[in-house]
Amino acid sequence: MMKKFLRSKNILFGGIIIITLILLAVFAPLFAPYDPVKDLDLTRALEPPGRAFLMGTDPYGRDLLSRVIYGTRISFTLGLIIQTLNTIIGVSLGLCAGYFGGKIDDMIMGLTNIMLSIPTLILALTLMVVMGPGIINLIIALGFVSWTYTCRVTRAETLSIKERQFIEAARASGVSNFRIIRKHILPNILSPILVIATLGIGGAILMAATLGFLGLGAQPPSPEWGAMLSSGRDYIWAAPWLCVFPGLAIFITVLGLNLLGDGLRDILDPRLITKKYKN
């Protein structure tokens, strides 16, 4: 198993990117030369990238490099929290729907279908309009909108495992429903959930940046990448670096997570592997 992990190029590249970014996020104060918000100095506003400021400065004279580094912190925190919420909701509902079936299944799948009939971005946008902009509201809005895929996969996996004999044996020996779900079903469906969650973090980061860009997520002066791009857009003629670097950071982050997710899928999801190597 370990050998497979090491041999996968996707996991190798994705892993290197993500580990580097996580280190940057955790040790941001060590890497960033300036404070991302407080170090204002109008005398050095809009300096192009150079030796003193590797990525240049913004209209308030703040160091862009420091802001991008601190942005890593915000984006990863957002991505992780949002995807954790989505996974918890999706897995719990999927397990209930698949295990109990009947009315409960109908209700949960009905809810899922309604969620699926509204594009995720539009639903998140509507929730942001209702709650108002801000990081906490962003987490709430995004944490509750993209659990449908996890839920459907969990339900399908649960349905197929439920019919196996060891579940029947457990039930016959009087094990409670909750314990069967927790001890016998959940461990058996972890790998697809892990793959979806990894790919989902990238999606969540992208969605958070999109809402930030639209002015509905994190608000300036927060060094959130999407919000930085939104204010950088007005300076594209005079100071293009304000658009280049925050966007590049989003791109590299999402790329790393996608590579990692693809690699995990190839290894953990045997059905896809058989499909891939069938020929």
Partner: protein, 310 residues
């Protein structure tokens, strides 16, 4: 076939009603009194004026009555009046729809043509340099945020090289839509290329291709008549799945390029807290999503009879 259409239609109508209800509830619990927003926000309004505005817009009615009225008007195509501009929401939407539709169609065209072409040639030459190049492009294209790509293209092609306009609609001139459509289309193109490649590889190893080869058919006929046509089926599925969400995705790109479509209207009305207009835009986007998905479902059933009996 008719039975299938009727069955899908019976699922479709409740979905529309439920979704419009959800959106109505969400937007009508917005904190902040809409009556306050109708007036001049710079000055405090006296209670009498507020009451007059409430009465005029029917804001004093109970919630269920307002929803009933709204739904009734919705069926007639009346989406209410925009608080801020005092114009019919449906009228405002009508002005913006062509822009968004045009952008979405050009985007889809770019994505399908580019994606199928790249996927097909890299699938045929699996493992070649070209294949590697296309697949790296597909991974990159999937991860690149469309709004950042848009900004970078503006910088390269408008600011630096001055070839294409940096934004605006230019009265429908196609030149103004090339960059937005390309920035939005690249992600879809990457996805379509990936699916096409996988499907071409699958089909190439089918028995009927070996049969065709052993019959001595020319390589040209095998490629375009046997492989290409059969490989397209899963590609059509993925195109259908993506197309519905495309209208929603235009929101971001319209902001980047200041295009006067539904998306920028939505964002503007959000900033102004013009609830009726926000509601109109959102419902329009969701309805177009549902209608596109509905039509595509019917099309599938037409193409692939197996689906009808599921």
């Amino acid at each position: 076939m008719n039975k299938f259409i009727i069955r899908r239609l019976l699922q479709f109508i409740p979905t529309i009603i439920i979704v419009s209800f959800v959106i109505f509830i969400l937007l009508n619990i917005v904190p902040g009194d809409p009556a306050f927003l109708c007036g001049d926000t710079r000055r405090a309004m006296d209670a009498k004026t507020m009451e007059m505005i409430r009465e005029k817009w029917g804001l004093n009615d109970p919630f269920y009555l307002r929803y009933g009225k709204y739904l009734g008007n919705l069926v007639k195509g009346d989406l209410g009046i925009s608080f801020q501009t005092n114009r019919q929401v449906s009228e405002l939407l009508k002005e913006r729809i062509p822009v968004t539709l045009k952008l979405a169609s050009i985007t889809m065209l770019i994505a399908i043509l580019g994606g199928v072409f790249l996927g097909f040639i890299s699938g045929m030459k699996q493992g070649s340099f070209l294949d590697l190049f296309c697949m790296i492009g597909a991974v990159t294209g999937r991860s690149i945020p469309s709004f950042w790509l848009g900004l970078m293209l503006i910088y390269l092609l408008s600011v630096k090289l001055n070839i294409l306009p940096s934004g605006g609609y230019g009265g429908g001139n196609i030149l103004y839509l090339i960059l937005p459509a390309f920035s939005l289309g690249i992600g879809y193109m990457a996805l379509i290329a990936r699916v096409t490649r996988a499907s071409v590889i699958d089909v190439m190893n089918e028995d009927y291709i070996r049969t065709a080869r052993s019959k001595g058919l020319s390589e040209f006929v095998i490629r375009y008549k046997h492989i290409f046509k059969n490989a397209l089926i899963p590609v059509i599925t993925i195109i259908g799945l993506q197309f519905g969400g495309l209208i929603a995705a235009t929101v971001v790109i319209e902001k980047v390029f200041s295009l006067p479509g539904i998306g920028s209207l939505l964002i503007q009305s959000i900033y102004r807290r013009d609830v009726a207009l926000v509601q109109g835009c959102i419902l329009l986007i969701i309805f177009s999503f549902l209608i596109i998905n509905f039509v595509i479902d019917i099309l599938y059933a037409y193409i692939d009879p197996r689906i009808r009996y599921q």
